[in-house]
């Protein structure tokens, strides 16, 4: 089912802000061939950064990829606009698993369309570990002992603070000052034992400098695929499950092209090619129908249900909460 011929004039370009290694470049070429609009891609590393850029205004983006918990904030700040479904014939609400799609709707209006989902767990070098990791408690405890100087935490408040909160059994999303204070104490205590605070954890894991890291599903899969001794697990206390969406900012300079591109990218065939290229799980049943079974049955990408159930989606409050932001900054500059 090719997208409707967009005979209308959508201009010659469209700007997409997204995460790295999250698309298949061939699809953009195809889009350009079909519509005449070239896709310019801006790459980002964190939701905070996306928000900061949009808040600063003049980002110039037409389409971007926020994570579930940020969408309400964008809506409240009037930074994104409700989607005009008449321009998205490829969107089929029924095809999406609800929990990965619901964050896209705010106040009854659809603001964002799901792209991919995943979890945040930990990856470790099984050759160095005495036993497999199963919890965030172990993660932080071993860091202070056997793995001192070998652990990586994300340069990302949501997962780093969230995981520290999980150590104490608190909610991943807590903004309670007392609970946060405990988390901060833990983080600052751990800091001297860390190898790094970075979201670029693959290279040190691969070359053996680091033995343990917080890790996103797709990348855990990649590491495990290439180096079988690196294993991936979710904390049994819980942790993060996330879903990324497509959204269109207010004042998008090329709005028509943005819709065209979005519609094109959620075409199941196109989307399947995307998934094959980057490997992250997809929430769209139409797409999964086209993917090989081994991918769908992979324990890293699709963990057991009881593990999944313990996970939490990020909460909107964590994004804007000044204390969490400041805590992270204090931790890094400590």
């Amino acid at each position: 089912r090719p997208g409707p011929a967009l005979a209308g004039d959508i201009g010659d370009r469209v700007i997409l802000a997204t995460w790295p290694n999250y698309h298949d470049a061939a699809n953009f070429d195809l889009f350009r061939d079909q519509t005449g609009a070239a896709v310019q891609v801006n790459v980002f590393g964190s939701n905070e950064e996306m928000l900061a850029k949009l808040q600063a205004g003049g980002s110039g983006w037409d389409l971007f990829v926020p994570t579930n918990y940020t969408i309400t904030t964008y809506v409240e700040a009037d930074l994104i606009e409700p989607l005009d479904l008449s321009k998205l014939p490829n969107y089929d609400a029924a095809a999406f698993e609800a929990r990965f799609a619901e964050a896209g709707t705010v106040g009854g209006k659809l603001y964002a369309v799901p792209k991919n989902w995943g979890t945040t767990g930990m990856a470790w070098d099984s050759g160095k570990a005495k036993a497999p990791f199963t919890s965030w408690k172990e993660f932080f405890d071993v860091t202070r002992t056997d793995f001192s100087g070998r652990t990586i935490v994300h340069d990302y408040q949501l997962t780093t603070i969230g995981s520290a909160l999980k150590y104490f059994g608190y909610s991943f999303n807590s903004v309670d000052p007392a609970e946060l204070a405990e988390a901060e104490k833990l983080l600052i205590e751990v800091k001297p034992h860390l190898f790094a605070i970075t979201s670029d954890y693959q290279p040190p894991m691969r070359n053996g400098d680091a033995w343990l890291t917080m890790c996103w599903t797709g990348e855990g899969k990649q590491l495990n695929r290439d180096l079988p001794e690196i294993q991936f697990a979710l904390g049994k206390e819980g942790g993060e499950i996330w879903s990324d969406y497509y959204a269109i900012p207010k004042n998008a300079p090329h709005r028509d092209a943005a819709y065209a591109l979005l519609n094109f990218l959620i075409d199941p065939q196109v989307n399947a090619r995307e998934a094959l290229a980057h490997g992250f799980p997809v929430a769209d049943a139409r797409v999964n129908a086209q993917l090989p079974a081994e991918l769908l049955n992979d324990p890293i990408l699709h963990p057991a249900a009881e593990l999944l159930n313990a996970l939490e989606f990020g909460a909107a409050a964590t994004l804007t909460d000044p204390n969490r932001a400041e805590l992270m900054a204090r931790f890094k500059s400590a």
């Binding site: 800091k191 790094a196 605070i197 040190p204 804007t320 400041e326």
Partner: protein, 285 residues
């Protein structure tokens, strides 16, 4: 005649003046105003008049401390490594090779500092130099993500900036002065200390100042080689604007950094003038 000359001056200066007004004066004023404000509810800036941001500067004390420690240390290290090289190039190399060798000092500059620092991540990482050392039986050394790694990156990144001014001032050195010193009974090392070194001070001053200024605002090298653990004011600033989105506090920190620099650099210039090193080329930067 006189009036038309003034007119001509005004016309020539207008573009630069406008540029400075819009991109230097205005931003600085905005930053100053913001530094007395508050963080907006969803981040950003909310108007207010409070000194709270300045009162909170202590929360970034470590970053300030790192900067104020590592910037001079990096400058000094770069100086100590650059001087002998500049000396070698200016006084010990035949003219035929000099240009080539000089160009070879700048060439690394033409590769993105990002990529070069990335190479250092490998070199200082477990598979790089530490591996080599441990293969040689020199023990298990961890380099990457330490202040030492940041220092190496700094020295590496800014070495050419230090070599050049020193080279220039050494090259200008009248060799007959060294002969004169020898003639008057000074053995080589003493004529180095008494003649060469003092006369190359302007270059040393220029290079140091250049490197120091750049280091004070450094972000990339600590970010890449410090593994997020070695934090400079620059990193704190980026964090404040892009992660915590606390523009007011960020502005206050920026104002503080600028103030520190104005004071230190001005004092440094004064000092140079006093010891007479700021003769000619210091003014260049």
């Amino acid at each position: 005649m006189a009036i038309s000359q003034r007119m001509a001056r005004a016309i020539l200066l207008a573009p630069a003046g406008l540029w400075y007004a819009v991109l230097l004066v205005l931003p600085l004023i905005v930053v100053l105003v913001y530094s007395f404000g508050e963080r907006g509810a969803a981040g950003g800036y909310a108007p207010a008049f409070t000194l709270a941001q300045y009162a909170n500067l202590g929360a970034r004390w470590t970053a300030l401390q790192n900067t104020l420690l590592l910037a001079p240390a990096g400058t000094l290290a770069a100086l100590l490594i650059a001087y002998p090289l500049a000396y070698f190039l200016a006084l010990r190399v035949t003219a035929r090779w000099r240009t080539t060798l000089l160009v070879l000092v700048i060439v690394p500059f033409w590769t993105s500092i990002l990529i070069r620092s990335y190479a250092w991540i490998f070199l200082l990482g477990g598979r790089g130099i530490p591996q080599l050392l441990s293969d040689l039986g020199l023990g298990d050394l961890r380099l990457i993500n330490t202040p030492f790694a940041v220092l190496v990156g700094i020295v590496y990144g800014y070495l050419p900036l230090m070599v050049f001014p020193i080279y220039v001032s050494l090259e200008k050195l009248d060799r007959r002065l060294l002969e004169a010193a020898g003639d008057l009974g000074a053995p080589p090392w003493r004529s180095f200390v008494q003649i060469t070194l003092p006369l190359s001070l302007p270059g040393v001053a220029t290079g140091s100042m250049l490197v120091f200024i750049l280091l004070m605002g450094e972000y990339l090298i600590p970010q890449m080689l410090g593994g997020g653990k070695v934090f400079f004011v620059g990193n704190a600033l980026v964090d404040l604007f892009l992660q915590s989105r606390n523009w007011a506090f960020g502005s206050a920190l920026a104002v503080t950094l600028v103030a520190i620099m104005l004071v230190t650099v001005t004092l440094y210039m004064r000092f140079l003038k006093r010891i007479g090193a700021a003769r000619d080329d210091v003014g260049l930067m």
